[in-house]
Subunit: 600 residues, 2 copies
C-alpha cells in the first residue's frame, strides 16, 4: 500500500490498483475514453516523485516519457509517489458549463406553484392479506395508491418480498401513472439533468425533494475525435460502417463516466429520472437515431418531440426503467438546448423584445417576446470551448480568463482561474486577447499580427505567435479562427434582426448563454464585433441554460409541458441558404466590422 | 442429398442436415426440449430402412437401439431412409387442446359490433417535407394519424428510411396509442393466443383482419419434468437454486418452438400481438414472477391484473415491442384460463344458472348467471391429459378414444384416432374403459380388478393389468389414479353447488371445457361419477376455452375489457380448507359414488 500525492495536495492510498482506479475511488475522475483499457492514451499524468510500473505507454511520446508522463490506467505505484494531473483531464466541478443555480432558485422562489417534480414519492401503509381479503399484492398496492398504475415486470418480481420484508410499509416513487422504484427509508430522490453539447457534456444532479442542484460534472464530448461540429459528425455517421453507433457510444460512455462520478460523490442517492438537452443532432445520436436527413435539404430531423424512453434504451448505467425525458427540438439546427434556454431565460414571457444568444460550437439566436419567437442557428465552431485553438482549454483551473496589454511598456497582465500557473486559454481569455491586441495595434483590422509591434511576437514553425508563457501562446491561425467564429455569431444576430425588422435599439435585454457565463467581458466582445453594439447594462449572463432548462423540466411538470409548447411556437429561419447572411458574415470578418459605423 | 420417407408416407429431401432439421423445415415439429442439442433424449425416431450416422444415443436404451431408434437431432442420413415418428412426438394440429373455432365464429356472427381487434392497421399517405413545411418525420406521421402516439426507439431508428423508401406511403399497425410496427404491403396481420396449461401448451395463430384462427399447435408443457401439478412446481421454484428461472425457461422454450412451427407454416404473416391465458401459477411463472405466496395461507398471487408487458419481457421470439396481454386471474387457484372460459362460454350473460367445468390438471368449476358468478378449484391431476398413466397420451393420432366391452364374448372394440394402430389412451378413452369395465363387472365399486373376470387381465410386474394390445394396457394403479381424479372433479362440483344452495335440477346448462372436447362420452362420465347426474342434453362441449377466450380478447377490445371486469366479479371459494369438500371427495372415491342415490 503506497501513498499518492497529487498536485492539489490530496494524498490517497493506493491498494494494488492503477493510479486511475485510486483517483476514481476518491471521486477524481480522469478522462479515459477507453474506460481504462490503455487504448485511448488520454489519461496522461506526470510522475514527479517515486517509482511506478507501467504496462503500456500508448500515445505517450518519447519526450513526454522522459519528463515522467505515464498512463494513469496502466501504471501502478511501486513506492509512495507524487503526480501532476493536468487540469484539463479532470472532469469534476467545472465552472464552465455549469448551470447557474441562482436562476433555478429564483424561478421557484418567484413562482412556488411551479415546483412539482416529474416524480412523486409516496409512503403508504398497506393492509396485509387475510383469508377474508385475499386481493393480490399488486392490487393492494394500486388500491392504496388510489389509481391504476403501470409496473415493470422486473419490479413486480420483487414486490411481494418487499412488502413482507417492510411489514407492508412501502416507500416508492411514481412518474405519472408508472411505478418507478422502491426506496429504502433513508434514500434521497435524485434526478440527473444532462446537457450534451457538441464539444462539452455537462451533468447536474438534482435533489428532487429540495428542488436544488447538488452537484455538477463536466467533460469533453468524446465525439470530438470524429469531427468538430455537427456536420462532420453527421458525415462520420453516414460514411463509416457502424459510425452512428461509435458516436452514440462515445457520448453515452462520457455520460456514464459523469454519472459514476456524481454517484460516488453523492452516496445514498437514488437517481430516478433523467432530463436531456442537446442540439438536434446530439439528441439524435444519443438515442442512436441517424441524423443524416438533417444535413440534406429540407433539413428535417427524424423527430422533434421525443417519446419518454428509458435509461435502458439509452444504455445509461441507471435502473433500466428510469425515464429519460428529452427536450424537444424546433428544427434540424435548433435543438432542445435552445428550447431549454428560452425556458430558463424567461424571454417567452417578456413584454418587450429580448435577444437570446447561446454561444457554443453552434451559435443560436432567438429573438422575441411573449407573443412571438423567431430563431436561427449559425456555426461558430468549437474554439470558444477550447477546441481547435493551439492552447485552448475549458474555463477550468489554469485557464487564462482575462488579459490586458500595456502598449507603452510592452508587457501584459493575465488572470488565471485558480491563480496558479497558466496552462491554457479559455473562451473569454481568447476574446480578451484578440480585443487587447487589436486595440493596442498588435494585430490589424484583418486580424494579422504586426510582427515588430511587440517583443512577445515570435516566429515559430513558420507562423507568428504571441507568446504568453512557456506553455501558452496564440498563433496567427488561432486569431483567424477566433475571427471566423465571432463573425458567424455576429452575422447570425444581425441577419435575424433584419429578417424580423427589429433594430438593436428595440432590444430590451440580451441574454447570453453558453460556456462563457459571467467571465465574458461584454465590452471586449463588442469591441471585436462579436456582439451587437448594445448598452452593456442590457446584457444578462445565464451560464449553461441548456443544463438549467433540463433541470427546470425535472422540477416542474408545468415547465416541461411548456417546453413542448415552446418548441412548436418558435419559428425557425434557415440562414444556410440566405444571401443576406453570407453578406453579413463576410462583412464581419474584420475587427470589429467592415461597417465601422455599427460599432461607434 | 438423400430422401427421408416417414410413416405418414411423406417424402422429404435431406440437405446435409439432421433428421430433426429436415422435419422442421417441412413443418413437422418433433418435441425436442433441448432445442436439438442431443441432451433431452426426446426426439427418438425409428429408422426402418437405410443407414444413418448418429453422433449420440443419449437416452436411448440398448433394446431401442437394436430396434433402430435414433435421436432425430443427432442423426444424419447416409442413404435414402425410412423412419417411423411416434405420433406422440409430433406437436402439430392436435385435436385435443384446440379452441373450437365455431364458438368464436358464432360470437362475432351474432354480435358483429364486438369485432374490434386490439391492433388496427393504417395505410396513410404522408406529405413529404419541403423547405416551407419542414416538420420532422415523426411529427408528420403523428399529424397524419391524427393523435399523439408512442413509438419505440428501435422503430424510430428506421422511420425516416422507411418513409422515403416507400415514397411516403406507409402501412403500419397501432395498438391504442402505440406504434407497433411497419408492414410490408403484402404482409398479413396475425396475432397469437396461448393457453399455458399445467400439462399442455396450446397456441392459436389468429388472422386479425378476418377474425379467424388459421392454425393451431400444441405440445406438452416441459415443466412436467419438475412436477405434475402447480403445487409441486411452486415447491420446485422455491426449493431449487434458480428453480423459477428453470421453470420459466422450460415453458417459454415450448412456446417459442410452437411459434416457430406456426411461423413456418404461415409464411408472410407478421405476428403483432400475443394474448396469454393460464392458471395463476402458470401465468406467474411465464413472467418469471415467483408464485410462492400462492401456496401459503391466505394464498395470494403477486398480481391478478397484468400490465401490458412486451414480448421482449417474456423473451418470446417475436419483435421486442409486440404487446403481450395476460388474461387476469381471480385468485391463487382460479386463473386467467377460467376467466377465458367464462368469456368463451357466455355464462356471464345467461338468465338461468349454468355450470362451467374446465377439466385439466386442475378441475375448475364456475356456477352462476348474469348476476353472480362463484368459482372453486380442485386438483384432478394430469391423468386425463395423458400424463401419469402408463399408456396415457393426448388425443392425437394413435390414441384410443373410445372402448366398448362385450362381457359374454369377452372381447372389446376400440376406436383409435386416425384409425391406425393404438399407441396409447387419451382421457376420453380412460373414462370409457373404466366405465365399461365397471359396468361389465371387470372392476368392482372400489375400482379393483376382479382377476378371473376376463382373459385380458394379466399379472405383470406384480400388478394386474387389462391388456388391450402389445403397446396398450391399463393397470390397477392407473384405475386408482383415474378414480381419484374423477372424485376430485365431482367433489368440487358438488361442494360448490351446496355452498351456493343450488341443486342439480336448477342447472340449465353444463359447459364442459378442457382437452376432452366432444370426445367425452357424457353418459360414461356420469356412469363413473365424474360429472353430476344431469340430463345429457344439457351438456355443451366447448373444447379448450382458455385458448378460445385468449383468442376472443385479441379480436375484441370490448371482450378484453369484459375479461378484466369478470375477474373482479367472480367470487372465489377456497375448497382446500373445506371439511365439506373432504367429505365429498372421500364419498366420491367409489364407482360411481358412495351415495348411489345420486346416480339413479
Amino acid at each position: 500500500m503506497y501513498k499518492i500525492r497529487t498536485n492539489r495536495n490530496e494524498i490517497f492510498e493506493s491498494q494494488n490498483e492503477s493510479i486511475l482506479e485510486t483517483m476514481q475511488k476518491h471521486g477524481i475522475y480522469l478522462q479515459a475514453s477507453c474506460g481504462g483499457k490503455g487504448s485511448c492514451g488520454r489519461c496522461k499524468v506526470k510522475v514527479t516523485e517515486g517509482v511506478v510500473s507501467s504496462l503500456s505507454f500508448f500515445g505517450i511520446s518519447e519526450k513526454e516519457k522522459t519528463s515522467g508522463y505515464v498512463l494513469a490506467c496502466q501504471s501502478y505505484p511501486k513506492t509512495d509517489i507524487s503526480i501532476e494531473i493536468p487540469e484539463r483531464l479532470i472532469t469534476v466541478s467545472e465552472r464552465i458549463s455549469g448551470a447557474k443555480v441562482e436562476i433555478i432558485d429564483k424561478i421557484f422562489t418567484d413562482n412556488p406553484h411551479l415546483f412539482k417534480p416529474l416524480i412523486e414519492s409516496m409512503h403508504l401503509s398497506i393492509q396485509p392479506p387475510t383469508i377474508e381479503d385475499s386481493r393480490a399484492d399488486f392490487e393492494r398496492l394500486k388500491d392504496a395508491v388510489g389509481k391504476n398504475i403501470f409496473i415493470a415486470r422486473k419490479t413486480v418480481k420483487i414486490l411481494s418480498d418487499y412488502l413482507r420484508e417492510n411489514n407492508w410499509q412501502v416507500k416508492f416513487v411514481l412518474s405519472e401513472n408508472e411505478f418507478i422504484n422502491f426506496l429504502q427509508s433513508d434514500e434521497k430522490i435524485y434526478a440527473i439533468a444532462i446537457d450534451i453539447g457538441t464539444t462539452t457534456v455537462a451533468l447536474a444532479i438534482v435533489d428532487l425533494e429540495k428542488g436544488k442542484i447538488v452537484d455538477l460534472a463536466t467533460c469533453y464530448n468524446s465525439q470530438i475525435a470524429y469531427g468538430d461540429d455537427v456536420i462532420t459528425r453527421i458525415i462520420y455517421a453516414i460514411e463509416n460502417l457502424n459510425g452512428l453507433e461509435i458516436l452514440r457510444k462515445s457520448v453515452v460512455d462520457d455520460i456514464n463516466a459523469l454519472i459514476n462520478t456524481v454517484k460516488i460523490r453523492n452516496k445514498n442517492s437514488k437517481i430516478l429520472y433523467v432530463s436531456l438537452s442537446g442540439n438536434t443532432t446530439m439528441s439524435h445520436i444519443f438515442w442512436g437515431i441517424n441524423p443524416k436527413y438533417i444535413r440534406e435539404e429540407p433539413y428535417v430531423p427524424v423527430l422533434n418531440h421525443y417519446p419518454l424512453w428509458k435509461a435502458s434504451d439509452a444504455r445509461l448505467l441507471l435502473d433500466s426503467n428510469v425515464p429519460v425525458y428529452t427536450l424537444p427540438s424546433v428544427a434540424g439546427y435548433i435543438g432542445g438546448d435552445i428550447v431549454s434556454g428560452v425556458l430558463a431565460s424567461g424571454i417567452y414571457k417578456n413584454e418587450n423584445i429580448s435577444l437570446f444568444i447561446d454561444i457554443g460550437t453552434n451559435g443560436e439566436v432567438v429573438i422575441g417576446n411573449k407573443d412571438w419567437l423567431v430563431t436561427a442557428s449559425t456555426s461558430a465552431g468549437p474554439c470558444f470551448e477550447g477546441s481547435g485553438i493551439n492552447c485552448g482549454m475549458r474555463a477550468t483551473e489554469g485557464a487564462i480568463e482575462s488579459f490586458t496589454y500595456n502598449k507603452a511598456g510592452d508587457f501584459f497582465k493575465i488572470k488565471v482561474i485558480g491563480n496558479g500557473k497558466p496552462s491554457g486559454i479559455c473562451g473569454s481569455g481568447m476574446i480578451d486577447i484578440v480585443s487587447e491586441l487589436f486595440t493596442k495595434g498588435i494585430i490589424n483590422q484583418k486580424g494579422k499580427f504586426l510582427s515588430e509591434s511587440s517583443k512577445y511576437i515570435k516566429m515559430v514553425d513558420d507562423e507568428l505567435r504571441f507568446v504568453i508563457s512557456e506553455e501558452c501562446f496564440i498563433s496567427q491561425a488561432d486569431v483567424d479562427n477566433i475571427i471566423r467564429a465571432k463573425a458567424a455569431i455576429y452575422a447570425g444576430i444581425s441577419t435575424l434582426l433584419e429578417e424580423v425588422g427589429v433594430s438593436e435599439k428595440d432590444i430590451d435585454k440580451v441574454y447570453i448563454a453558453g460556456g462563457f457565463g459571467e467571465f465574458l467581458d461584454i465590452k471586449k466582445a463588442i469591441n471585436i464585433g462579436m456582439l451587437p453594439n448594445i448598452s452593456e447594462d442590457r446584457f444578462i449572463f445565464l451560464g449553461n441554460t441548456s443544463l438549467a432548462g433540463a433541470t427546470l423540466c425535472l422540477l416542474s411538470r408545468q415547465l416541461k409541458d411548456l417546453a413542448e409548447e415552446l418548441a412548436d411556437k418558435m419559428t425557425y429561419i434557415d440562414l444556410s441558404s440566405s444571401k443576406r447572411f453570407m453578406d453579413e458574415y463576410v462583412s464581419a470578418l474584420f475587427l470589429p466590422h467592415t461597417d465601422i459605423e455599427r460599432f461607434t
